[in-house]
Amino acid sequence: MVNPGEKVKVRVKINGVEYEENVSPRKLLVHFLRDLGFTGTKVGCDTSTCGACTVLLNGKSVKSCTVLAVQADGKEIITIEGIGDGKLHPLQEAFSDNFALQCGFCTPGMIMQAYSLLKENPTPSDEEIKDGMHGNICRCTGYQNIVKAIKEASKVRP
């Protein structure tokens, strides 16, 4: 137990590397990640709507603005910086190939959510993509090219 104002030790694996930090229980996972330099994960809203902060927590996509850093204790996190394995992930390639980004701010969250979606449904239809991705808002692209990119990536077997 920690009292208000005290810090708590959090041990997490981020993109395969162990981190141990003392954090205030109120600190949101997204700020924890960003303060560690994982600034690919963005903050786009304050109502858990936009999905720009999407990361994988023990393999499941979550909105890291709606998770406390302390809740990640003992868990594994994958961020946009961690999916490429030294080169671009097929989803990252597909986003670029299909003009599926403009300002790029929503892109990391979009890709992380698409990654999660494809893990659960490797061959989604357009409707299934829309249903699985509506927790991520893009203001630039109008979405069609994003759907295209996800479909294309779903055909690549890494």
């Binding site: 994960t41 936009c50 671009l88 003009f99 790029g104 249903d131 509506h134 069609q144």
Partner: protein, 749 residues
């Protein structure tokens, strides 16, 4: 080495998809965090502010109020004088912090601390003693002048002007029919995905500002003017910017307070807006047109008259002055109507300030004139497009001087309309919709035509450098922030220089690197900034030819250039890289050219078509959105289409989902739970075509611009589709499901 006209991949994507992008909040600078105490009242006077408890909060460094920071200002942001005539305006420049807050959310104190959480704690502990003042939150009420937003102005009217051409009285007297029209755009929130942010570092008399802006050079000028720092000692850096749509050509109180605090403390200060703060920083649209049109029975439009009323919000922002002055000029659109009288009035209200937003004034003008055309078509029982064709300016009248003196440069609207009708399958779609409706499906088809004014001057800067290794650095005064115009510019340069595009790096957005610049807005970048670097490229190439001639011991006339090789008539060759190296070895060294290109507006146009389907609940969905545009020469069709997609989505938002609601106390709904930015589920299928034989602009690139087109015309097309589906007139965006449902009920009974 053909790049122009090809769907070349975006050249700077890698960092964005890999999570290595650097928006202002991603930049690692050791800085204090700023947060703001905001007025809970739409209008109030501050009796006192007690921040002693706030200062005791762990991690808090300082709290400043208007009394501390406002005296540091030597001016304050007013209208953008490049485009707005201050003589037409009554306004009070904005302060760093309000001493008489004028909208709910107006910042009254800045709290500075070592982290965001402590700052939020301290904000809660600042006690402000307010004396609530009467407020006016509706623009219609502001006109009555019963409550004044600015006592010192003596009026709420910031701007009023008559726009008159031809003989309006005669036109109406001679008309077969006079038809009333109304067009209303409710308040929107541009809401780019990256909330605005700023880091200011003042040290030793120099100010560095990392700023989520689309106009870094104007920002330098503004900060210099406001704080009396020589502009040469100010560096404004635009990092990656996560969308702007016009809303980041805007200097907020918060920005000024951050800069002022940095100067006062001699430390770097950072502010990143939360989404709610972003939503309250910049609102958009909010205007109404009420009037009537005079027509002949054959569909000829002979006169338009009416009143345009525009909400300014509580302050005259840098850009909002554009709307009341440009909307009337563009009301005639692509049509030949000559007799027009519009009184344009803009009023202050105790609501969040309004800025330009994608299209800025052309969406409003287009909505007005296209509502007029559709309404007239209904009243005269004519086909929508037949009526428009009747009134379109003819090819032999081009260049056409519109009633307010704008010169439409190039185009053949009528032939284009015919081409577009075919491409969009207008007739088939109409028949399809009628058939589906007979089967019981509530579907509708709507079209609208637009004429856009774009590619604003007065000038833009472009520079091309070829270094000793043959690498090409392009420096532009344009400020791409998502559009992909960096790629477009690289294509233009690669084609001009006949080099591989991978040799090219495009640089922008740093006032210490870019000699001068205006920025990216008004669909201008590929035209004016692209043309500037195109010309600069050709100048550099000329010099390279001279160097090559020297190397080949020949006259320059004897040397030709193609695809990386300079070739003498006799067949001897020197390569691009060798010439580049030689250019820094011999006499008259260096390969650079900079061009400050003057330019003037051009006029793209297009026809868009929306397909909607309505559920029994009244909930409408845009199923398909088709566009056909003549945007001049197309540099990169994939990027151009992407602009159509994005603009259309925002058009769908404006037409059906987005409404910035302000309650009776002046409180704006400031979250995505109240303001419905569309998601993937609401997105239609888009089909985009560009004219087969486009009419080019006078710009060297031949382009006209496409950044705003779909949001300019989209709402009018979608509203028309809803009308087609339910058979009732709608004059307002957005149309909430409730209104559609009511119309469906009316029709049933």
């Amino acid at each position: 080495m053909n790049y122009v006209g090809k769907p070349v991949k975006r050249i700077n994507d890698k960092k964005f998809v890999a999570g290595k992008s650097q928006y202002v909040d991603d930049i690692q600078v050791s800085a204090l965090h700023a947060g703001f105490v905001r007025s809970p009242y739409a209008h109030a006077r501050i009796r006192s502010i007690d921040f002693s408890d706030a200062l005791k909060t762990k991690g808090i460094v300082a709290v400043f109020t208007g009394k501390d920071l406002n005296p540091m200002l030597k001016g304050g942001p007013g209208p953008w004088v490049t485009y707005i005539d201050t003589k037409d305006w009554r306004y009070v420049p904005r302060n760093a912090l309000a001493e008489e807050p004028r909208y709910v959310g107006d910042p009254v104190a800045i709290v500075l601390g070592i982290d965001r959480y402590s700052v939020a704690d301290a904000i809660d502990k600042v006690n402000v003693d307010y004396e609530e003042l009467p407020a006016v939150t509706k623009m219609e009420d502001a006109l009555s002048e019963k409550v004044l937003v600015y006592k010192e102005l003596g009026t709420n009217v910031g701007y009023r002007k008559n726009f008159t051409s031809g003989n309006i009285e005669e036109a109406f007297k001679g008309a077969d029919k006079v038809i009333p029209v109304e067009a209303f755009n409710t308040r929107l929130i541009p809401s780019p995905m990256e909330p605005r942010g700023i880091v200011a570092r003042y040290e030793g008399g120099s100010l560095t500002v990392w700023y989520s802006t689309q106009i870094p050079h104007f920002a330098r000028e503004e900060f210099s003017k406001d704080f009396g720092i020589p502009s040469s000692r100010i560096r404004v850096i635009m990092p990656d910017v996560g969308g702007a749509f016009g809303s980041k050509a805007h200097f907020t109180s918060e920005d000024l307070a951050v800069v002022a605090s940095s100067i006062k403390l001699g430390r770097a200060v950072r502010w990143t807006a939360t989404r709610s703060e972003e939503m309250i920083s910049s609102n958009a649209r909010h205007n109404s047109f009420k009037g009537e049109v005079a027509v002949k029975n054959d569909g000829t439009l002979v006169g338009i008259r009416g009143d345009l009323l525009i909400d300014l919000g509580a302050y005259l922002t840098y850009t909002e002055g554009l709307q009341p002055a440009i909307i009337p000029l563009m009301v005639p659109g692509p049509y030949r109507v000559k007799n027009i009288h519009i009184t344009s009035t803009a009023v202050y209200t105790n609501t969040p300030p309004i800025t330009m937003y994608r299209g800025a004034s052309r969406p409003e003008a287009t909505f007005i004139i296209e509502r007029i055309m559709s309404t007239v078509a209904d009243e005269l029982h004519m086909d929508d497009l037949e009526l428009r064709e009747k009134n379109l300016v003819r090819a032999d009248e081009m260049p056409y001087k519109n009633p307010f003196g704008l010169t439409y440069d190039t185009g053949d609207y009528l032939s284009f309309m015919r081409e577009a009708k075919e491409k969009l399958k207008y007739q088939e779609m109409k028949r399809w919709a009628e058939e589906e409706r007979r089967k019981g499906r509530l579907v509708g088809i709507g079209t609208a035509f637009y004429l856009e004014i774009s590619a604003f001057g007065p000038w833009e800067y472009g520079e091309v450098r070829v270094d000793e290794m043959g690498g090409v650095t392009v420096i532009t005064g344009g400020t791409p922030h998502g559009q992909g115009t960096d790629t477009g510019i690289a294509q233009v340069v690669a084609e001009e220089l006949q080099v591989d595009i991978s040799k090219i790096n495009v640089v922008w957005g740093d006032t210490q690197v870019v000699a001068s610049g205006m920025g990216t807005y008004g669909s201008r970048t590929i035209s004016i900034a692209g043309s500037a670097v195109k010309i600069a490229s050709s100048q550099v190439l000329e010099k390279m030819k001279r160097v090559a001639a020297r190397m080949l011991k020949a006259d320059v006339e004897e040397v030709s250039y193609s695809s990386g090789e300079f070739t003498h008539r006799d067949g001897r060759k020197v390569s691009w890289d060798d010439v580049a190296r030689e250019a820094y070895a011999g006499k008259d060294p260096g390969l650079y050219s900079s061009v400050t290109l003057e330019g003037d507006v051009t006029f793209p146009y297009g026809l868009h078509l929306a397909v909607v389907e309505i559920e029994d609940t009244g909930i409408a969905k845009v199923k398909e959105y088709r566009a056909c545009d003549d945007i001049g020469k197309v540099i990169n069709p994939a990027l151009a289409e992407a602009q159509i997609h994005g603009g259309a989505m925002q058009g769908v938002g404006q037409a059906l989902y987005e409404e910035a609601k302000i309650d009776e106390n002046g409180q704006l709904g400031v979250s995505y739970a109240e303001y419905f930015v569309p998601t993937m589920v609401e997105s239609p299928t888009y089909v985009s075509y560009f004219a087969e034989n486009p009419f080019q602009s006078k710009y060297a690139t031949g382009t006209k611009g496409v950044g705003e087109a779909a949001l300019i015309v989209g709402p009018a097309a979608i509203v028309r589709a809803i009308e087609d589906a339910v058979g009732k007139r709608f004059n307002k965006t957005p149309i909430p499901p409730e209104e559609i449902y009511k119309a469906m009920l009316d029709r049933k009974s």
